[in-house]
């Protein structure tokens, strides 16, 4: 079609007509392509809005019935039709905090290793290997967690924690109770491994934005690697690193399959992090199939809506920070 338009000779009358027609077609194709792309871009916007609206509409009966009390009530009793989100929100927050406490230092450590310490030919392979952790589907973390990690937790790690930290005043209550293997801590640890690559990948990328001159100057005046990282790299990349951490937090909050396998799915808040619990996503995954249409389903959708709002806020903050970092770079 293009070829005819370009090679058409304008001298003969009929070919002028052809040419006009071909140009018209071309103009039409040009405009329709533009509208297709802008339409697709708008669909992306509509998708997110659609998620929010449809979940809110599904959740409305539960919100109307329980009001704001839904957020703070720890009741979850399908037979009595009493539902509250507190247990699930609590579990979601605690598992994510545990995951971040471990993944942030480790992820930053790996990023420092990859940008400052590693032998250059090994940087790419090791970086790719860490990123592969992010590529493994979450269901695989689940099956692995329940068959391999849970027994280790039950036999070694949890008894060890109970006999040591369990007796420490003030924090002891966190580590008490029988070692089930399943539980909030196990879920938090599996989550930590899952979000680790996100923290590493983003930290490494923002570490790479530090102008080499700054680092060289610091090394030049005799700073050690640790001092360069602490006094030059981290202050320069602070916003980006926090953005990366928030992005990983967003992932941890919404992670479903791995958590469902190892958290034990107990709908009750317990003080010990060794005890079984649940998270918003685990609760939805576990109970949705059995839920009666009506208040039960609506309450699960309400949980979904809360999770959506929570992750939206965290991810929006993360993106905003990363955008600021990009402006600087």
């Amino acid at each position: 079609m293009t070829a005819t338009a370009i090679s058409a000779t304008p001298d003969a009358h009929s070919s002028t007509m052809d040419r006009a027609r071909a140009l018209g077609r071309l103009k039409f194709a040009d405009a329709s392509f533009f509208w297709m792309t802008i339409g697709s871009a708008l669909i992306v916007l509509i998708l997110l809005a659609g998620v929010a609206v449809s979940l809110f509409m599904g959740a409305w009966p539960a919100f109307r019935e329980f009001g704001l009390g839904f957020l703070v009530s720890d009741a979850w009793s399908p037979p009595r039709e009493k539902f509250g989100a507190a247990t699930a929100i609590y579990g979601t927050l605690v598992t994510s905090v545990i995951a971040m406490l471990i993944a942030v230092p480790v992820g930053l450590g790996v990023a420092v290793f990859l940008t400052e310490l590693c032998w250059i030919p090994l940087r790419r392979p090791i970086g790719v290997a860490i990123e592969l952790l992010a590529g493994i589907p979450s269901i695989i973390y689940g099956i692995w967690g329940v068959y391999y990690f849970r027994p280790v937790m039950q036999e070694y790690i949890q008894p060890f924690l109970i006999s040591t930290l369990g007796n420490v005043p003030l924090v002891g209550f966190l580590f008490q109770g029988p070692p089930f293997g399943y539980g909030v801590l196990t879920a938090g640890l599996v989550l930590a491994v899952m979000v680790l690559p996100f923290i590493t990948a983003i930290s490494r990328d923002v570490f790479d934005t530090v102008p080499p001159v700054l680092k060289e100057a610091a090394y030049g005046v005799g700073c050690t690697t640790f001092e360069v990282v602490g006094n030059v790299i981290l202050p320069y990349t602070r916003v980006g690193v926090i953005g990366g951490v928030m992005l990983a937090l967003g992932r941890a909050l919404g992670e479903t399959m791995a958590v469902t396998f190892v958290i034990g799915n107990a709908t009750k808040i317990q003080s010990s992090i060794l005890a079984q619990g649940t998270t918003i996503s685990a609760m939805i995954a576990n109970q949705f199939a059995d839920a009666d249409p009506g208040l039960f389903t609506s309450s699960l959708l309400a949980l979904g809506f809360i999770l959506f709002v929570l992750t939206f806020l965290v991810l929006a903050a993360a993106r905003w920070m990363l955008a600021r970092m990009e402006l600087k770079a």
Partner: protein, 281 residues
């Protein structure tokens, strides 16, 4: 070395560097442990039946044929819907929108969709396509996967098109090519490998997703290719069989897990290789 201040600094450095090494070893150890377990347990369950028989009740020799086909069909549906959407939206961001207000908003929202919890997407499609129709369907599962895969393609398409030198576009425009032709015949061609990267990454992500399929495709123990009914898939069958008390089904779950991980990792590694190639050029 006599200077105590210097010795202290060196000691602190040694401690923190060792910790960075340890952190890397820790991260790599998990990868090795998980892959080793998968290969160990997965190979045990490998057999020809896996690819020729469908899932069966306990006691009967079964395979994963229905789940493998289900995964392929649903990923295919996800790709058929998600790829045009993602590539066109990414084209808008890189070629037309650039720094306009709409493009900035779309970019921001897309980045959020990129990491939004997949279970929430599942609920959305459940409300949109399962409740009105009245039953679960592979089509709904495919659409859910499209919602998860599209943002990845939007992002990669935009990033890759941004690599195209502007002189190339200017040269084409100077010959009188309309903008859409410049994009389709010049820009796309220059970064074809990069666009494929995005598609491969999206396939990898869609293949491994479980959470959105629970409420949409539901799963099915029978062999079916009918997209309007419930359909099995590898992640769903792993989810079901891993919690089964029967050793035979657990074995199948591990074999499925090995197949799934192998497929996903091969896809993401080839995507990485392709993208490195594009960026070098």
């Amino acid at each position: 070395m006599a200077n105590p201040l210097y010795a202290g600094r060196r000691r602190r450095n040694a401690i923190w560097t060792t910790l960075a090494y340890a952190a890397t070893a820790f991260g790599l150890a998990w990868l090795v442990l998980i892959l080793a377990a998968l290969i160990w347990k997965g190979l045990e369950g490998m057999s020809l039946d896996l690819f020729t028989k469908s899932t069966a009740p306990p006691g009967v020799v079964g395979g994963l044929l229905n789940s493998i086909v289900g995964s392929l069909i649903q990923t295919g549906i996800g790709l058929a819907i998600g790829a045009p959407l993602g590539i066109l939206a990414g084209t808008y961001l890189a070629e037309y929108g650039r720094n306009s207000r709409l493009a900035t908003v779309v970019r921001f929202i897309n980045d959020i969709l990129l990491s939004a919890p997949s279970i929430v997407v599942g609920l959305f499609i459940y409300e949109l396509l399962v409740v009105p129709v009245g039953h679960f369907s592979a089509l709904a599962g495919g659409v859910a996967l499209a919602v998860i895969g599209a943002p990845i393609m939007v992002r990669t398409t935009e990033d890759m098109l941004n690599l195209v030198p502007n002189q190339l576009r200017e040269a084409a425009s100077a010959l009188g090519m309309p903008q859409s032709l410049v994009i389709r015949h010049v820009a796309y061609k220059a970064v074809r490998a990069g666009l494929v990267t995005g598609v491969l990454l999206a396939i990898a992500r869609m293949t491994g997703e479980t959470a959105p399929l629970i409420f949409t495709a539901l799963g099915n123990s029978l062999f079916t290719v009918n997209p309007t009914g419930p359909m099995s898939s590898l992640p769903l069958i792993i989810y079901e069989f891993a919690r089964s008390p029967y050793a035979e089904q657990q074995k199948l779950a591990w074999a499925g897990a090995l197949l799934l991980t192998f497929a996903v990792l091969v896809l993401s590694i080839s995507a990485r290789a392709l993208s490195a190639q594009t960026q070098q050029r």
